[in-house]
C-alpha cells in the first residue's frame, strides 16, 4: 500500500467501505452509462443491505450517480438533490449468491432509454471492484484510467487496440478479456498508466468490430 492509502482518502464519513466506496461505485456506474441517469434502481446486498441506512450507503451511491466525488460535503443531501434534478431513484435489498458482503447492483436508465447494469463491490479503504457490466464479467477498480471496450469476438482486434495505445506512448498496466460465447460479443478491460486522450478513443471507436468504447478516469471528476 502506498502511504496515501494509509493517510487518506479525504472522504465524507462514516465508513470508507460503506460510504466512500459506495459513492465511488455510483460515480463509476454514472461514467459507464456516459451521462446522468434519469432512473436508477439500486439493489443492496449483504452488509450493504443490513447496515447501509445507518452508514448512508444509499445516499452515497446516489451522490455518485449525481457526479459527486466521495469527499463532496453534499453527499448527505443527495436524495433530495436527485429529486430536484428529476432523477427517479428506487432502493431495495437483494440477496445475491456468492457475492462480496458489500455489493450493490445498479441499473441505470438514461432519458433516451439507454441502460447499463453495474455490479460492484466495496473492498475497504474506499477501494472498489466492478464485478460485471450488463451481466458480463469484469474485474477492475477504476483506480487507473480504464478503457472498457465492447467488440465482436474475432481475431486481431486486441492487437489493433493495443497498437492504438502504443503509438501514442500509452502503457498498459493490466488487461482482461471476457466474452459471452465464441464468436459472440466480448469485453476488453484495459487499465493504463497514463490518461487516454480523445484522439486515442476516436481511433479505437473507428476500429472494425468495436461496438462501443467507454473511458473511465475518476481523476477527471
Amino acid at each position: 500500500m502506498n502511504i496515501f492509502d494509509i493517510m487518506g482518502p479525504v472522504m465524507v464519513g462514516p465508513s470508507s467501505s460503506h460510504t466512500a466506496g459506495a459513492a465511488r461505485m455510483g460515480l463509476v456506474a454514472r461514467k459507464l452509462l456516459g451521462f446522468q441517469p434519469a432512473r436508477a434502481d439500486i439493489a443492496l446486498h449483504g452488509s450493504f443491505a443490513a447496515t447501509g441506512a445507518g452508514h448512508g450507503t444509499d445516499r452515497a451511491i446516489v451522490a455518485g450517480l449525481l457526479g459527486m466525488a466521495p469527499d463532496d460535503p453534499d453527499i448527505p443531501r443527495s436524495l433530495q438533490l436527485a429529486h430536484e434534478a428529476g432523477m427517479e431513484v428506487s432502493i431495495h435489498t437483494v440477496d445475491l449468491r456468492n457475492a462480496h458482503p458489500n455489493t450493490a447492483v445498479l441499473t441505470l436508465t438514461g432519458s433516451l432509454g439507454r441502460t447499463v447494469v453495474v455490479d460492484a463491490s466495496s473492498l475497504g479503504g474506499g477501494r472498489i471492484r466492478v464485478n460485471a457490466i450488463d451481466g458480463m464479467a469484469a474485474a477492475f477498480s477504476g483506480d487507473l484510467p480504464t478503457l472498457i471496450i465492447r467488440n465482436e469476438d474475432k481475431p486481431g482486434i486486441l492487437s489493433e487496440v493495443s497498437y492504438c495505445l502504443a503509438r501514442r506512448g500509452l502503457n498498459i498496466a493490466a488487461m482482461q478479456l471476457y466474452r459471452d460465447r465464441r464468436g459472440g460479443l466480448s469485453v476488453m478491460v484495459i487499465e493504463c498508466d497514463q490518461p487516454v486522450g480523445p484522439e486515442v478513443l476516436g481511433d479505437i471507436q473507428l476500429l472494425d468490430g468495436v461496438v462501443r468504447c467507454i473511458y473511465l478516469d475518476l481523476e477527471e471528476v
Binding site: 500500500m1 502506498n2 502511504i3 496515501f4 492509502d5 494509509i6 493517510m7 487518506g8 482518502p9 479525504v10 472522504m11 465524507v12 464519513g13 462514516p14 465508513s15 470508507s16 460510504t19 466512500a20 452488509s47 443490513a50 447496515t51 441506512a53 445507518g54 452508514h55 448512508g56 445516499r59 469527499d71 460535503p73 453527499i75 448527505p76 475497504g124 479503504g125 474506499g126
Partner: protein, 281 residues
C-alpha cells in the same frame, strides 16, 4: 514500500525519518517531492478544516451521535487540564463529524479519523509549530502505518479495533515524537508502546455503525499516543521491538473470533441495550 520498521530506520540513516518516507513515495508513485508534499499538505489542511466544520447540532443518521464534542468543552476544571481537555474534545468532534457524514481524512481509517488531529492540532497551537513541521509528522505517521498495514492490518474487519484506533494511536505516537524533535528510534519505541497497550482491542460496533464505542475509542487512542510519546521522549521503551509488536498484533487479530471483527455481533453490540438499539433502527 517499507515492510519493517527496521528497514524504515536504516533507510533514513542519519537523515530524518520523514525524509525516507517522502523519498519512498516519490519512487513509488513517480512524483516529485514537491508534488508529494503538496498532497500531504492538503491532508493536513483538510484535518484542520474538519474540526472547524464540526457542527454541534448535527446528528448521525440513526441519531446515536452528535453534540458531545462541544459539550466536552463546557466542563470547568477538567481533571486532565486544559490541553488534554482540548485533545479529548477534538477526538470526540472528529468521531462525531465522521458519524454525521462530515468530511474527514481517513487516518488510517474513517472510524479512527479522530486520533491524529486530536493530538496534532492542539500540539501545533501549544508549541507554535509550523504547518511544514506537521506535514513531516504526517509522513512519519504514514511510514509506521505502512508497516502496520503490511505486517498486520489496518482493517477492523480483519484485525479488530486494535487495527484501526490502535494503528492510529501507534502512528500518532510516532508522529508526536517527531513534533518534539525526537529520533527515529524514539518514534519506533513510542509506536511499539502504543500498540502494546491496545493489543486485543475488539471491534464491536453497536448496530454495526461507526458510533458506539468508536467515537470514544478515538479519545483513548489519542491519550495513549500522548502518553507513549512522552515515555519515548523520556528514553523509555516497551522491551519488545516495534516490528515484533506489530507481528504480535497481526497474530492476535487473526485469532479474534469473527463476532469481534466489525460484524456487530459480539462485545458491546451483543449487550441487551446494544441489541435494542440495533432493532430500533
Amino acid at each position: 514500500m517499507f515492510g519493517s520498521v527496521g528497514s524504515l530506520l536504516s533507510a533514513a540513516g542519519d537523515s530524518p525519518l520523514w525524509q525516507a518516507v517522502l523519498d519512498d513515495d516519490c519512487r513509488d508513485r513517480g512524483v516529485s517531492p514537491q508534488a508529494s508534499m503538496a498532497k500531504m499538505g492538503k491532508l493536513w489542511q483538510v484535518m484542520k478544516r474538519s474540526v472547524m466544520d464540526y457542527d454541534p447540532t448535527r446528528r448521525s443518521p440513526c441519531g446515536l451521535s452528535g453534540g458531545q464534542g462541544a459539550q466536552m468543552a463546557t466542563l470547568d476544571h477538567s481533571i486532565c487540564g486544559p490541553f488534554i481537555q482540548e485533545v479529548i474534545g477534538v477526538a470526540l468532534k472528529m468521531g462525531e463529524h465522521n458519524a454525521c457524514m462530515g468530511r474527514i481524512v481517513a487516518a488510517p481509517t474513517a472510524g479512527a479519523c479522530g486520533v491524529m488531529p486530536a493530538v496534532l492540532i492542539p500540539l501545533q497551537r501549544k508549541d507554535r509549530l509550523s504547518d511544514e513541521r506537521l506535514v513531516e509528522c504526517l509522513y512519519v505517521a504514514a511510514g509506521f502505518g505502512q508497516v502496520i498495514a503490511s505486517r498486520a492490518s489496518i482493517s477492523g474487519a480483519e484485525g479488530g479495533c486494535q487495527a484501526e484506533v490502535g494503528s492510529a494511536s501507534g502512528m500518532a505516537a510516532a508522529a508526536l515524537v517527531h513534533a518534539r524533535g525526537g529520533s527515529g528510534a524514539q518514534s519506533a519505541a513510542a509506536c511499539a508502546m502504543a500498540l502494546q497497550n491496545v493489543l486485543g482491542l475488539v471491534c464491536d460496533p453497536v448496530a454495526g455503525l461507526v458510533e458506539v464505542p468508536c467515537v470514544k475509542r478515538n479519545v483513548m487512542g489519542a491519550m495513549n499516543a500522548l502518553a507513549c510519546a512522552d515515555m519515548a521522549l523520556a528514553g523509555l521503551d516497551g522491551g519488545i521491538p516495534c516490528d515484533e509488536v506489530i507481528d504480535a498484533m497481526g497474530a492476535v487479530g487473526r485469532s479474534l473470533p469473527t463476532s469481534l471483527r466489525e460484524t456487530g455481533e459480539g462485545g458491546l453490540a451483543a449487550t441487551p441495550t446494544g441489541r435494542k438499539i440495533a432493532e430500533g433502527r
